[in-house]
Symmetry: C2
Subunit: 536 residues, 2 copies
């Protein structure tokens, strides 16, 4: 497949009138062919209008048809995996195996949502049966289910060119919900984006869906994204990126004449607490695991552990020594973009200049475009005094925080802002002794990890990849796992509707055989009548 460098607007190709930009190879700095063209304001409008029109049809597409569509996207992506991985490696400097794995994960994710919408229980069907004899007033027949919000704008992320990009989790969950999607592709990997975009477009076509179900717009700056979020036809947005950009777009979403939900996953330092028993028993293993985790993907994971708390003493000293060895021996890393490269350098230098912070280990950057890993250390008092130390440095760096008392660590936990994850290494005895720590952490994060590492987010039903602000714009949501679909729906209820006018999901006989709550009881019986509780 040849790259056109043009936006995908339904079944149409974008124009070449907009500003040109190119992807760059992060390993060499070299600009990659071809030119890509930023979409115009008119093309934003076209994509939004097509999405709006498509919504009228697509929102009434059955679960089975949506499942077929999602599976078709996955198959189309799989067919061009080699090409995606080849281009992706050039654009992101991520290793081939990682991109192969991420492609597989992206396809797994699409298929998991296919399963979900085919099965149907996610719709939260509620049926309350009528009682015409109730006093003082008859009880009506009330039935509700989730319905899609409307066109959704998805912002591709720099750090997951597949799983959080054109056909990533936001797109998969929005399409599964019944919402058309307009992707604003990330300008660091436009070629990878275009390949995936073509795979989605082909699926729209072969499934006979209206063309506006999917568009992919390119843009080098932030005008296109902002214009999309302001468009009256757009009803929600999904974003993974920096706190700065996320907060700007939160503002755009909240200041519209019609404010809309905007789900930004923005930043997180993912605290790790190594409790005394674990530190004594597993120092070596934890040091190796931690190094692997904070340097995975060159430290460019949203879930990278960026601050690590240990109680000072001999065990901490052993652990620190091991960790230093790992860091010093790190191979050079290449970051995703020149902007990230520069900002990593600034972050490292600013941290070095902090009073109370020392560099415990660094590794060599390996040339002009590479960077080294960095391990910083500070004490609890310095940490508590300087909020910057709890901030994210995007790249292969982490901060060890030594503390001397239990109270210090509880105070640190209480003062944490929202994060995606918190990790605890401990023995069962540690956990009992620090149950108050676990209890505090639960109010600060979306996911608690025990004796593991936060990087590597399982795509499953129970996953929560979210967390209180500022980890995300909306702590009530997850952007990974099947519960991500709930971001793009709202409940609608039908009162005293005749059977013939009800959606299939709400009909008496439960023709789709889905789990429904009938008069307060879960059931998936396919009877001519749902379990009718006789009113008392």
């Amino acid at each position: 497949m040849k790259l056109a460098g043009r936006s995908i607007i339904g079944f149409r190709e974008g124009s070449t009138s907009g500003a040109k930009f190119r992807a760059h190879n992060p390993v060499t700095g070299e600009a990659l062919e071809p030119d890509f063209y930023s979409a115009s304001a008119e093309e934003v409008n076209q994509a939004a209008s097509l999405a709006h029109d498509a919504f009228a049809t697509y929102r009434n597409t059955s679960g089975a048809e949506k499942a077929k569509f999602l599976r078709e996207i996955a198959s189309n992506i799989e067919k061009i995996t080699d090409q995606i991985v080849e281009r992706g490696t050039l654009e992101t400097a991520l290793p081939k195996a990682r991109l192969q794995g991420e492609t597989a994960r992206t396809c797994h994710q699409l298929r998991l949502f296919a399963q979900l919408v085919e099965e149907g229980s996610w719709l939260m069907v509620r049926i309350d049966r009528p009682d015409p004899d109730r006093k003082p007033l008859p009880k009506p027949d009330v039935r509700s289910m989730l319905r899609p919000l409307g066109p959704v704008v998805v912002f591709g992320a720099s750090n997951f060119p597949l799983a959080f990009s054109v056909a990533g989790g936001d797109t998969a969950s929005a399409l599964a919900a019944g919402c058309p999607v307009i992707v604003k592709g990330h300008s660091a990997h436009p070629g990878t984006g275009e390949l995936v975009g073509q795979a989605v477009r082909e699926a729209v076509r072969s499934c006979n869906l209206p063309e506006g179900v999917f568009s992919l717009l390119f843009g080098g700056g932030n005008e296109i994204g902002t214009a999309l979020m302001k468009h009256p036809h757009v009803k929600a947005g999904g974003f993974t990126g920096s706190r700065h950009a996320g907060k700007l777009l939160m503002n755009v979403a909240a200041s519209r004449p019609e404010p809309i939900p905007f789900y930004a996953e923005m930043s997180s330092t993912n605290p790790v607490f190594i409790l005394p028993g674990a530190l004594r028993q597993n120092a070596e293993k934890i040091a190796a695991g931690l190094h692997g985790s904070f340097t995975l993907g060159a430290g460019q994971f949203c879930t990278k552990p960026g601050m690590v708390f240990v109680q000072e003493g001999t065990d901490a000293a052993n652990f620190t020594r091991k960790l230093q060895e790992h860091v010093t021996g790190s191979a050079p890393f290449h970051l995703l973009t020149s902007v990230i490269h520069k900002s990593y350098g600034t972050g490292i230098n600013e941290r070095k200049a902090k009073s109370g912070v020392k560099v415990l280990a660094e590794s060599a950057p390996g040339g002009e475009f590479g960077v080294g890993a960095a391990l910083f250390e500070t004490d609890a008092q310095s940490f508590l005094k300087d909020a910057d130390l709890a901030g994210e440095i995007f790249g292969p760096a982490t901060l060890l925080v030594r503390h001397s008392q239990r109270e210090e660590i509880l105070r640190i936990a209480s003062e944490l802002e929202g994060h995606l994850t918190a990790t605890i290494h401990g023995t069962e005895q540690d956990l009992r002794k620090f149950s108050d720590l676990v209890s505090i952490l639960e109010t600060r994060v979306g996911r608690l990890v025990f004796n593991g590492f936060p990087t590597g987010v399982e795509v499953c039903h129970a996953m929560v990849h979210g967390g209180p602000f500022p980890a995300t714009s909306d702590g009530r949501s997850t952007s990974v796992g099947t519960q991500a679909i709930y971001r793009f729906c709202r409940p609608v209820c039908y009162q005293n509707f005749p059977e013939s006018a009800l959606p299939e999901e709400l009909k008496d006989g439960n023709p789709l055989g889905i789990w429904r709550m009938v008069d307060g009881e879960m059931t998936r019986e396919k009877s001519s009548q749902p379990q009718l509780q006789v009113a008392g």
Copy 2:
């Protein structure tokens, strides 16, 4: 029980240093004893700090304990029903029977939430079992459930002094979720509010819950409400009131250093579409029902039908004549407050001055403090030209809109902003012929009513009392029915946690016997192991 006129701050009484205000009898204009005292900024802080402290305990209170608490509140309210109804009638001019009914509804609502949290399935438990042998990486054990957000501020509504006030739906759902509640009482019915507040406080005490679980603050202006919404310990807000106040508070919630969810139910004109078959067959019955609905509670329901669409012709003329008779024969109404009284007068006069609008019928106001019902009429073209005509007039008035073509009515539906409800009167044949109308309306409202009227919102599992902006601030939510609980929670996930450190709801043996999704399948088996799907 004697009224103290002071805020309830946990188990403490508020001071008498703040500005004084009194309730007024809407029928006579007379100021009612005693004086009530606005809370101070310091008291806002006290209530928020108590709520924050209480959250540490209350969020871990079991479903069974929360159920006991909610039922205790209901019993305490029932014990003083007579006093509540007596005071409520003085403060609101609502009839005794209505306030008795509303008290019963409030208690039913508390008990329905008690049932919900006792049963436990609302927690959306998801369990994905591990697979240590999975390639390329082992699959972790991931379990998630909903957890409460933190202290919630509830704004009492003027028009439902019980069901949407101190112990109304917002309070019941927030307490059920595990969130402490601080109510900003409505200053139009402070006595009713204090009585209910004392009933809640006694329940907190007798259930041995921490005092900060509940506070009730009085305030004549909007400073107290704004200060509460800005307080860093507050994590969500619930509001029923005017669009003006709702939008101001939406802004406060979104502009905080930590933005928080704010659920405002703000305004709605609840369109009614009377289709040709129904107009022919049921003109008399619909006219009587419509009159009853738009004048119910003196037209001060959020769900009052404020615009009614009919196709012009003989049937419409018959219908209109009937409706005119009903309106002309209406007994005088008393509105809730002097502010509402004044604003109804302004609304009526502004509408009278509109070109293309005529008054079809009015009834007599019956004295200085009363108001009459009003029936306006316009045509589709005038309606489409003037957005004001789709706006809410709070009080016993409605607008008939005549149209001549099917296209007009579809265009009107397409251009509707968000409303709480839309109602369709039709035969089954009408419904088939106007299926596109139903389909459009579904994207505009939270509840579709067939051959009925939107007033009278059933408190049940399937109810959706919400709708796209500007009907509410957040169309993904409902403020009535058990699904209202989802506004005050967020999912939290536990990865590879040892059984002993997991919440009861997530433990292997399902000790609480609740519905859970295990490896994608709903089950409530109480086995030593959940249904383990062997990974393929």
